[in-house]
């Protein structure tokens, strides 16, 4: 007969507890950094948000802070237009790349192709901007000067968010159970019909989450857009008009803005933060629902 071992072991309980405490502190630091940033932005926006100044963001004609004009709408339209166009272009490209990778690409090129897209995600935004400035902008200028424009900003954004859409869509497509494609094949459906009728409907929440996250990234992108968009504050009337986005505006004016002007920059930052956070939460929700849906 073996001797009975005591069930309580003091040392292992002790190490578990200290690990728990350490991790708790680490998480607390991470969370509080975020909290403090939001709090700080809030505090800085107070001069602009308190008092009668608030409405001026929408009522003022345009943005001339030195002449006391604080209309943000032209820049908001610039941000929204460049993001919308980028999403419009990147969504079909990204889903197409994902479908190609999964269903049509010859075996030897699948891995290099995926590696290429992943690499695209790793290029820093200032490099994209630099490329845009030296290649894309002159190219557009040859057709329609000045070149630095809504179109240039959208195209750069498209390339930048393409990996997000492609890689996340591919993950969503890969998570569609094999039994669906097997079932579709057993019904004599073609590859195209299977993708259209079965795979895409099954993967749509994941793809939707990909598009939302890409939107968030496009809204928040600053440097590359700043370098190619011309930065003229105006509501864009055509694809070839220069624009200024809210993020670019912060980057451009932060250095010399004071008082009310400085505070308004924080307001635009706060708005962007909330919008992007809301989009990220939405993407998470949609993706989570997709996960539970397949498990059912």
């Amino acid at each position: 007969m073996q001797p009975v071992q005591p069930l309580q072991s003091v040392t292992s309980a002790h190490t578990d507890r200290s690990l728990q405490l350490t991790l708790f502190i680490v998480s607390l630091v991470t969370a509080s950094v975020l909290g403090l940033i939001v709090l700080f932005i809030f505090r800085e926006t107070l001069p602009a948000l308190s008092g009668p100044g608030m409405l001026r963001f929408v009522t003022d004609e345009s943005w001339h802070p030195l002449e006391n004009q604080f209309g943000m709408l032209p820049m908001l339209w610039g941000t929204l237009a460049s993001t919308a166009l980028a999403i419009f272009l990147a969504t079909p490209l990204g889903i197409g790349a994902a479908l190609f990778c999964r269903y049509f690409a010859p075996r030897p090129i699948v891995r290099p192709f995926r590696a290429l897209i992943t690499l695209l995600a790793g290029i820093s935004s200032v490099v994209f901007g630099f490329w845009g400035l030296t290649v894309l902008v002159p190219l557009i200028a040859r057709f329609e000067p000045p070149g630095a424009s809504l179109l240039a900003a959208s195209l750069i954004l498209t390339i930048m968010i393409l990996p997000t859409v492609a890689l996340m869509s591919e993950a969503a497509i890969n998570s569609v159970p094999e039994s669906y494609s097997g079932g579709a094949a057993a019904l004599g459906l073609s590859k195209g019909a299977t993708i259209r009728q079965v795979i895409l409907p099954a993967a749509k929440s994941g793809i939707f989450a990909a598009v939302i996250l890409a939107t968030a990234r496009a809204l928040g992108e600053t440097m590359a857009v700043l370098m190619v968009s011309g930065n003229v504050v105006q509501t864009p009337g055509s694809l070839f008009d220069p624009i200024r986005t809210l993020t670019a505006n912060i980057a451009l004016e932060m250095a010399y803005a004071t008082q009310f002007h400085r505070s308004t920059l924080f307001v635009s930052g706060l708005v962007l933060t909330f919008v992007i956070a809301a989009l990220a939460i939405a993407a998470h929700r949609v993706e989570h629902r997709a996960g539970s849906h397949h498990a059912a």
């Binding site: 159970p177 039994s179 669906y180 097997g182 079932g183 579709a184 094949a185 057993a186 019904l187 004599g188 459906l189 073609s190 019909a193 009728q197 079965v198 409907p201 099954a202 849906h293 059912a296």
Partner: protein, 280 residues
């Protein structure tokens, strides 16, 4: 009706199981000659020859991994989807080789339907699950679509259960209902052969019984080839049975014959041991 001996050497008269209409005169619809299925270096199935008779239920029995599913999925060329799979030998469907060059695999699969072990309705509505394959195969008229969807659901006994919620997601159905929907989805294309890969193994006993009754009702109208691990079920429903076994890690057909004979007076000693439950 005068009883007709199914095979000359059969010592058995026609019992209740063989009394189905089309089974009295065995007429092969699928002729499998020397079928071998390899995955890379391993041989899943070696040199199988047998006939599948029109209107009958043929059960494939044997332990896991002896090539029953490989056999089944080479009958509708679904094994083509596995990149490493290599198939040799011949399968004739109504006298035509299905592996001949130029065979329209998609049309073949509309004539030889398949039901899987795990119910796999598409994440669409109940109606779309049935309509979509029809539309993809060129059925356009809405009244025809409607009628065929209703007929298929009637055939699997699902119509009364779902007629008021045809546009709700198919994934909300119970496991047994999902499997019957999958059978309906195969039937809606009006195949002549239905391949079933353990259609009841993932179901509770009651749902399993419902599906089993349904399979029995298919006999005569459809030719059914069913893989099952449930010997009692095979005994209950099959007209013909084929026993597969692994020999030296290669799947082989050991014995094929009328179900009654195979279960009650097997020729091979392995079959005898398996059906009596002492091996496998």
């Amino acid at each position: 009706m005068t009883p007709v001996a199914l095979t000359p050497h059969s010592p058995y008269t026609l019992g209740t199981l063989q009394s189905g209409p089309a089974c009295c005169v065995p007429q092969p619809i699928l002729e499998i000659k020397n079928l071998t299925v390899r995955y890379g270096d391993s041989t899943a199935l070696d040199g199988v020859s047998l006939d599948i008779y029109k209107g009958c239920i043929t059960a494939l029995i044997g332990p896991s991994g002896c090539g029953k599913t490989s056999f089944l999925s080479s009958l509708n060329r679904l094994a083509d989807l596995i990149p490493a799979a290599k198939i040799s030998g011949d399968v004739r469907f109504n006298g035509e080789s299905i592996y001949a060059p130029g065979v329209d695999v998609r049309r073949l699969r509309t004539q030889i339907g398949m039901v899987f072990q795990k119910a796999n309705p598409f994440p669409l509505s109940i109606r779309r699950n049935l309509e979509m394959p029809l539309k993809e195969h060129g059925v356009r008229h809405s009244h025809e679509l409607k009628a065929r969807v209703e007929n298929a659901l009637q055939d699997v006994g699902l119509w009364d259960e779902v007629k008021d919620r045809l546009d709700t997601p198919a994934l909300q159905l119970s496991g047994g209902q999902q499997q019957r929907l999958c059978i309906a989805r195969a039937l809606v294309l009006k195949p002549s052969v239905l391949l079933m890969d353990e259609p009841c193994s993932a179901l509770d006993p009651i749902s399993s019984g419902v599906v089993e009754d349904l399979i029995l009702r298919l006999r005569g109208t459809y030719t059914v080839v069913i893989v099952t691990h449930n010997l009692a079920q095979a005994k209950r429903i099959a007209n013909y049975a084929a026993f597969f076994w692994m020999k030296e890690r290669v799947g082989k057909l050991i014995e094929f014959g009328q179900s009654q004979q195979l279960f009650e007076a097997p020729v091979d000693s392995l079959t005898a041991a398996y059906v009596s439950g002492s091996r496998g």
